[in-house]
Symmetry: C2
Subunit: 188 residues, 2 copies
DNA sequence: CACGGATGTTAGCGATCGCTAACCGAAGCC
DNA sequence: GGCTTCGGTTAGCGATCGCTAACATCCGTG
């Protein structure tokens, strides 16, 4: 079943929320963009908030789950970080709008979903930080978290600047991220 | 005159807009946070939109103006980029909320201000891109822009992760950004 | 001292918002 | 062939929004 009505709404909403923000998008706008109008959305989601929650919880889960998997499959910390960078790039390129919405509108989530998302995100950062610390054991834990966040910022710039073909974007982002994290010391 | 009423409103608004978004902050909220209530704001700004515009136009101007100045004062492209990184870090650390608002809520600007901000931002990116290309003349122009955006993403992560004392944050961000941009090839 | 501008107040208007109610046609099932 | 379910419609409610109007207070100045 490729793309249920529900999925179509979620992806349309991601685009609109990314462009205008959650509070800047009315349910009428969203309905219209889905080819229906306004209140029809309530046949698929109990509320506008719940729609946002479904969107953000599922992406946080996927980022963490696949990230964990990729890191565990790697042979050493450097390979794990390389795999994490690769996975994050893949995800960000395939879900530009979601990436934008996630760090823009998480504050609009109802409390319960907000805490769930924050927990998942914290685990995801911790996953990166742990790999950074086993690569460089002298690294302070807080600094490792800061470095992970900085790497996310770099990689998450892609929704605002995907000017190149996908392969080229991948290459540039991979190069910059691995350099920033100290994974390589030589030029191309 | 350090901090007129107008400035106090602007900086309070920056904090609230960064937390809840432009559309998520009512003029009553903003007024209350400034120690007055609601409509009093209209004695200082003609509209809520105009307030946002004043905020974003002025920061875009400052980023570009000082950036240009710093780049011109440098002896070579590498020094210019180093100075740009340094300036951007200084600005981002001193204006965390504004950095957030700028890339979150620029779409809420009235057309005229939006175009002005976009023009200024484009010039700022072009300033970085030009330095990157004179450092590495073989670099494609589009890729240079992408690399500049990625560097901004990295540096702009600081509002979400300023867990370290300011000096340490500066050092970490400077290290990562210069590595990402290929300004150094050796470890610390 | 009168007065005018600057800066605040409260009341309230019109528009828009999220959401519910009531209704309807098509599809599937016994 | 009737009944239910599913997914859609329009009408409209109550709340909130940005903003204006009308009025109060203070303060510098001729």
């Amino acid at each position: 079943m490729p793309a249920s009505r529900r999925d179509q709404i979620l992806s349309t909403a991601a685009v609109l929320f990314a462009e205008r923000g959650f509070h800047g998008t009315s349910v009428a706008d969203l309905g219209a963009a889905c080819g229906m109008s306004g209140p029809a959305l309530y046949k698929h989601f109990p509320s506008k908030d719940a729609l946002l929650a479904a969107m953000l919880v599922s992406i946080s889960e996927e980022l963490l789950a696949v990230g964990t998997e990729r890191a565990e499959a790697a042979d050493d910390p450097a390979a794990a970080l390389d795999a994490l960078v690769d996975w994050h790039i893949t995800f960000a390129l395939a879900n530009k709008s979601l990436i934008v919405v996630q760090d823009r509108d998480w504050a609009a989530l109802p409390v319960e979903a907000r805490e769930k998302v924050r927990t998942l995100q914290r685990k995801y950062v911790a996953l990166w930080a742990a790999q950074l610390r086993s690569l460089s054991p002298e690294l302070d834990d807080t600094e490792a978290h800061v470095r992970a966040h900085a790497a996310f910022g770099l990689l998450n710039s892609t929704p605002h600047s995907a000017f190149l073909p996908e392969d080229a974007m991948r290459a540039v982002l991979h190069d910059m991220a691995t350099r920033a994290l100290g994974l390589r010391e030589e030029s191309a």
